[in-house]
């Protein structure tokens, strides 16, 4: 077993270990400052893989994952060298999850902190009920993305499908491509310097070079539905 960063990667092979055994190995570092690199082989769409981590490990998953990969992540740096199923990085608290393929619905749902980077596309409800994390999707996002998002940020390099930002609270959305339609109470907003800075740092953190913050439009809450009023009944 290796214990320090830079040592040879430790291998966790799902062809030989059960999900419980694999997660037990990964979670055995919880509460430590261990940053070992662990390679997970043969994930074959396994659900709930690398969830509940709480150490700055580097985990590289060599293939596709099922639902809730890296769920509730704290501190860990999880890379999926494939596609990820529903709810990847759901309720992430901190750390980083990097998916090299596409992600299914509800990516980073309710995530409080950390960064999710998606090289491909994200399906519906990306960033639903987001609570402070950042998400960068290099492709397109599906409908109802950032539904009821409370805090945090979604950066979309491609297009956004219908009802983007429906019932959004204090979260921010940046879109470089087209927006099919905005959801209830979501409006376009001006981009100030501090927004450009936020955007630039997220683009840099997610490895997007040669893309300028000025190419994006910003969306957020009109704050019209924050209190229940009779005038708004038509919106519901």
């Amino acid at each position: 077993m290796t214990t320090a960063a830079g040592d040879n990667a430790r291998i966790v092979d799902l062809a030989k270990l059960s999900r419980r055994e694999a997660n037990t190995v990964l979670q055995s570092y919880n509460g430590t400052s261990n940053s070992t690199l662990i390679r997970v082989l043969n994930p074959a769409g396994t659900h709930a893989l690398a969830c509940g981590l709480d150490a700055p490990l580097a985990v590289e998953i060599d293939g596709h994952t099922g639902y809730y990969c890296a769920g509730m992540n704290k501190h860990a740096n999880v890379a999926v060298l494939g596609n990820a199923g529903q709810g990847v990085a759901e309720n992430m608290m901190s750390g980083r999850v990097h998916v090299h393929g596409n992600v299914s619905q509800s990516a980073a749902a309710t995530a409080h902190g950390g960064l999710l980077v998606v090289e491909g596309n994200a399906a519906a409800r990306c960033g639903i009920s987001l609570k402070g994390a950042d998400i960068v999707v290099k492709g397109n996002v599906g409908h109802m993305s950032m539904f009821m998002a409370q805090a945090g940020c979604l950066v979309i390099l491609g297009d956004a499908d219908e009802a983007l930002g429906d019932s959004i609270y204090e979260a921010a959305i940046y879109v470089r491509g087209r927006v099919k339609s905005l959801g209830a109470d979501c409006v376009e907003k001006e981009i100030a310097d501090r927004h450009c800075d936020q955007l630039a740092s997220l683009l840099e953190a997610s490895g997007c070079s040669g893309i300028d913050a000025s190419e994006f439009r910003r969306f957020g809450s009109a704050r019209e539905l924050y209190n229940f009023k009779q005038e708004n009944i038509g919106v519901y």
Binding site: G52, G71, M72, Q86, Y226
Partner: protein, 437 residues
């Protein structure tokens, strides 16, 4: 209210409640949102009677022979099931809807009586963790304050699909109650109306839920019992699908169930009575050969030891109480009559849990009001109340010849009305008739 004169005839159709409702709607243009539970009459446990013992059944000696009350929850999959001394649990009520003092009092009372309390839509506070020996952590659609550390320091996890007062409705906390602390815990601005989601953000349906539960178990090392709580919409299928999704414990809440803030029309008109909920849930467990393997907790309008005994006799493993626990803490206290009146209500009628103006200091975030509730004293009252319920269940169980309250059975009861017989599956007294079978 003065007595109407002889000769004045009140309409049954347009009675004073109906008239007040129309007048209110006409003047505000908004539906009423309120707390408490359904106020209409619904067939309930009062419509059942226990038979007791005589020639064909031997009773146990009241003060000498033991009648046990313990219950183990989560024996199906969890490596650390919960052991409670009594089969009466405290239902999930959020910090936000309740003051921090009220949450602490619930923890103190429940712990003293040997039972569990439950978090709510708003996350876990340190006060309630510290004062609750056994704490169930709710996993709700809103996921306010949800984090893996709290998940791990909980004793059990309750996935909330719905609650009896509003099966199919999301949480609601009006701006009046969103103090700085509540807002921070929920990651939302102060003073806004919080309409929490009615569906979970990352799963839909029992097949997905099974995977969600798998994740929760993986994160908590398969130690914690996982409950699924549903409002009684279609209790037979709600229960069966909860079992399929991998629940250790199913919690079913009848339409009488209390709430902190819900549309009045929802409270009074949606969901099924608790009697129906118990019957159908037990039937589903029996049909799946899961009765007593997956435990059943039933809530919604439980007030007395008699209610508890009847729920257990119908096949529940435990009950949960919300409103009754608040009343035990001091809700509806006649000592606050003048203040209730100033708010347009009266002790015994108070239902404005949503307003944050609670004279008893329980359903509020106002510091001055919440300081009225002394957690230690209120906790003692709750513990007293729970002990009375337990003694009453034991009294009934002994009279029916049972050495454990779980030995109470449907055959120990009769129904007083045709409706209750049909809903509960207990034969009408003096007959062996269960309508609808």
């Amino acid at each position: 209210m003065s007595e109407p004169d002889w000769g004045l005839r009140e309409s049954h159709t347009f009675d004073r409640n109906a008239i007040a409702y129309i007048r209110r709607a006409a003047s505000t243009g908004l539906y009423r949102i309120r707390g408490f539970g359904a106020k209409r009459h619904i067939p309930n446990f009062d419509d059942l009677l226990l038979k007791g013992a005589s020639m064909s059944r031997y009773p146990l000696e009241g003060y000498r022979e033991k009648c046990r009350t313990s219950v183990a929850l989560g024996t199906r999959f969890a490596s650390k099931p919960i052991e409670l001394a009594i089969p009466i649990t405290i239902a999930g009520m959020s910090f936000g809807s309740l003051s921090a003092n009220a949450k602490e009092a619930l923890g103190r009372g429940a712990s003293a009586a040997g039972t569990s309390t439950t978090t709510g839509d708003g996350g876990m506070t340190n006060e309630e963790r510290r004062h609750s020996k056994t704490l169930v952590y709710q996993y709700l659609p809103s996921r306010y304050g949800m984090n893996p550390d709290d998940l791990r320091r909980a004793d059990a996890i309750e996935v909330v699909v719905g609650q009896g007062a509003k099966p199919g409705g999301g949480g609601m906390l009006l701006g009046e109650k969103i103090s700085k602390r509540v807002a921070e815990m929920r990651t939302l601005p102060e003073g806004i109306d919080q309409r929490s989601a009615c569906r979970h953000p990352d799963w839909t349906g029992p097949d997905d839920l099974a995977i969600k539960i798998l994740e929760l178990r993986e994160i908590t090392n398969w130690e914690k019992p996982v409950y699924i709580k549903c409002g009684a919409a279609r209790p037979y299928y709600d229960t069966a699908l909860s079992v399929k999704a991998g629940a250790d414990v199913v919690v079913i809440d009848g339409m009488q169930g209390g709430t902190a803030a819900t549309q009045d029309v929802f409270i009074e008109h949606v969901g099924q009575p608790t009697l129906v909920a118990v019957k159908e849930a037990v039937q589903a467990l029996i049909d799946l050969d899961m009765h007593r393997k997956v435990q059943l907790i039933v809530g919604g309008g439980i007030r007395s030891g008699a209610d508890v005994a009847k729920a257990l006799a119908m096949g529940a493993d435990a009950v949960s109480i919300g409103t009754a626990a608040l009343i035990a803490l001091g809700d509806q206290d006649p000592a606050y009559q003048t203040e209730y009146e100033q708010l347009g209500s009266a002790a015994g009628y108070w239902e404005d849990y949503q307003s944050g103006t609670d004279p008893a200091g329980i359903t509020t975030q106002d510091e001055q009001l919440s300081n009225r509730l002394a957690p230690e004293m209120a906790g003692k009252k709750l513990a007293n109340y729970l002990r009375v319920l337990t003694l009453e269940v034991q009294t009934i169980a002994r009279a029916c010849g049972k050495s454990h309250v779980h030995n109470l059975e449907a055959d120990d009861m009769v129904a007083l009305t045709v409706e209750a017989a049909a809903m509960s599956g207990i034969p009408l007294a003096g007959t062996n008739w269960v309508p609808g079978t």
